[in-house]
Symmetry: C2
């Protein structure tokens, strides 16, 4: 097999550990220089390929690449750009081939979530559809944890850990003061369609009465009356009520509680502001003093308290992607397979990309308590190992040291510019 | 000197390290059993004294008390209850004496901020005003960092660290995605009157262009036009703009921005929502895609990333308070004195309580850049050592282990009940 270069790109919302996957891809490629020449990273994701803005990762030292293990966000930049179908935008596919050909790229590693799996699948078909030989491997990544066929998704474990810890800590604050002050606290977390992140907050509770007292899932239609009854019950029984609400919480008719009317590039509604809306509702109906927090990007970038399990898995998946490519695979995604034993174990499996793309994995109903406001023991058993271990970064003068790569662009070989 | 019992209470908003001060008080009292009998803690602060709800800290093991060092929030409960003047509510003072006398209390340790210093001062005068012998020592605590005479206040260093880290992490997230997505990110932090917390976020930036690009201080009147110009400049120069805004940001006429009358999608007023108000303002005027976070209680309870310096100082101040009491002091507050040398050093000093009560220490003007949107080198030199060191708690199954005390109430000795 002739030596080929590889293209790697980060896609969609970044996470605390997506760079750990990048580290796995690059380090493994460097260990296989006979087959893989250089790893080029897309500047700002796939649009870096379309614009011929390729970052030469060979310009980075081994030490710098290693530091990706402890650096959050997307070291090469990411984007939300979903390739349309070949029929609808043939020009983009032809451009990809033009750039890949110019830079002798034979491997395509795409690090993203559900939409990216779809893009990766389309790219994997370039050999067939446009006659360009390319192996495309998807490296899973999404804090939403909604990809099918993998036990969990890198990025999720760290958000889960952050959210569970923050819930526990903030709840202790509220409990300290509730006799004379705030009685209701709402933490709004991410998770547009699936309640995995909100559910993970349930780990904060270890015994009856512990916070969170109410979790709101996108999977369970919001019932204002039931909700208010539950808030009041918690305040009466425990003196306070801690609510963790998924941004995707919606009414039975599908309307989000937080609908802002804005939509992103994928046509998803831009959410935000659920917490203040819920707080106002509670104030109006029950009159309790409240506080609310919206963690937003803090939750998915919180590398300072990343899960060691998550970091390990993110790296292993990047590594496996390269190994799959070297073994001749195309249109696959390495995934996490959970061992059957009581003690948590995991290994790397392989999923066909056409089974992954455009499938969303929701919280199973048996992970949510019958009343719809909490998590079951089955859910706890699922979540717990994913947040295990503290993968602390190095600190200097009280602040974590995160690597900033040189990100040197490869000289352009094409005259034609392409506007995305 | 006959042996007397001590009363300890936590007051006002709790912090990540107020329990470290409690640990210092209790451990030091236990080391001086000849002079100090038992330490009784007020259940929910000073109202615990008024209600004769005294927690017997002697029922807690040495190991449990030690764990207070790594436990956030108020282990005995706190409250916001400011004693009025003797003239206005003599009954409360008489009740305090009644309870103190019944339980042979001769030492009063009050752990709080500015309002608490005032309460503590009034209590310290009980000997004079109502003839009850009592030594009252104030243990400083406030995330707002606005007490005079002390270089800094326990609780602040840990919030500062949390905010600086969160700003750095979230900014990396925004930078990764700004080419095609969010261009403006706003983090709302606490600090109603003083901009210390917002200022500390400035530590996240190490070189030109680093986030935060704009800090909004309560000390600087908000000028919409100047602000918008600055946002736009940052987006043009760096591709994005990260703003850290103090909740106390206000217009020249004193109106808080968070009371700006904006309404959300449901027609509800946005209460306490400075970040969404700013975001909307930017969207309307500049059209940028935005995200915002409100850290709220998360920032002051984040024991998982507390500053080691802060924990050490909180403990030392609790210890010093007891030592001052044993030395015969009354109406004083141990405080942090910063060494003069280039290398950061600190020691414990002593401040007269009548000089502390009801004085608020604002950010000095020379800590804020001339344009009003950033911090100066002087500010950085002040802030930096306060966030030094990571005082990690112990973890079990991925979550920090925080102690929950037994909080056994001392049997009542008084027949009379007192309603607060």
């Amino acid at each position: 097999m002739p030596r080929k270069n590889a293209f790697y790109a980060q896609s969609g919302g970044v996470t605390a550990v997506i760079n750990a996957s990048a580290c796995g891809v690059i380090e493994t490629a460097r260990q296989n220089r006979k087959q893989i020449g250089k790893v080029y990273a897309g500047r700002n994701g796939i649009i870096g390929a379309l614009r011929e803005e390729l970052i030469d990762t060979n310009k980075e030292s081994a030490a710098a690449i290693r530091k990706l293990l402890t650096t959050p966000a997307g070291a090469f930049g990411s984007c939300r750009h979903k390739l349309q179908s070949l029929d609808k935008n043939r020009a983009e596919y032809e451009r990809l081939i033009e750039v890949f050909q110019a830079h002798d790229i034979g491997y395509f590693f795409y690090n993203g979530g559900g939409d990216s799996a779809d893009t990766c699948l389309k790219v994997s078909q370039l050999s067939k559809t446009l006659g360009y030989p390319l192996q495309a491997i998807h490296v899973p990544k999404t804090i939403d944890n909604d990809l099918p066929l993998t036990d969990n998704c890198p990025g999720f474990g760290s958000v889960a850990k952050y959210v569970a810890i923050s819930t526990r800590e903030a709840a202790m604050d509220v409990a300290s003061m509730c006799e004379t002050s705030t009685k209701v606290f709402i933490l709004e977390v991410m998770g547009r369609h699936a309640g995995w992140i909100a559910g993970a907050a349930g780990l904060a509770a270890e015994k009856t009465g512990d916070a969170p007292h109410i979790i709101l899932f996108p999977e369970i239609a919001f019932d204002r009356k039931k909700f208010m009854t539950r808030v009041q019950r918690s305040v009466k029984r425990h003196g306070y009520c801690v609510i963790v609400a998924s941004e995707g919480t919606r009414y039975a008719d599908g309307r989000f509680l937080s609908e802002s009317g804005l939509k992103d590039a994928f046509g998803h509604s831009q959410l935000g502001g659920l917490a203040p809306a819920l707080a106002q509702m509670i104030k109006d109906e029950l009159g309790h003093k409240y506080h609310w927090a919206v963690a937003d990007y803090l939750q998915r970038s919180a590398r300072h308290i990343a899960s060691q399990t998550d970091v390990n898995q993110a790296y292993a998946l990047g590594k496996a992607a390269v190994e799959f490519a070297l073994a001749g695979d195309n249109a696959v995604m390495p995934c996490i397979v959970r061992g059957k034993g009581k003690r948590y174990t995991w290994s790397i499996g392989k999923a066909a990309l056409d089974k992954v793309a455009n499938v969303e994995k929701m919280m199973p109903r048996n992970y949510i308590t019958r009343d719809g406001f909490g998590i079951t023991e089955a859910a706890r058993a699922y979540f717990a190992p994913l947040i295990a271990g503290e993968a602390y970064p190095i600190y200097r003068q009280g602040l974590p040291v995160y690597v900033e790569l040189k990100n040197t662009l490869v000289p352009r070989k094409l005259k034609r510019r392409f506007t995305v």
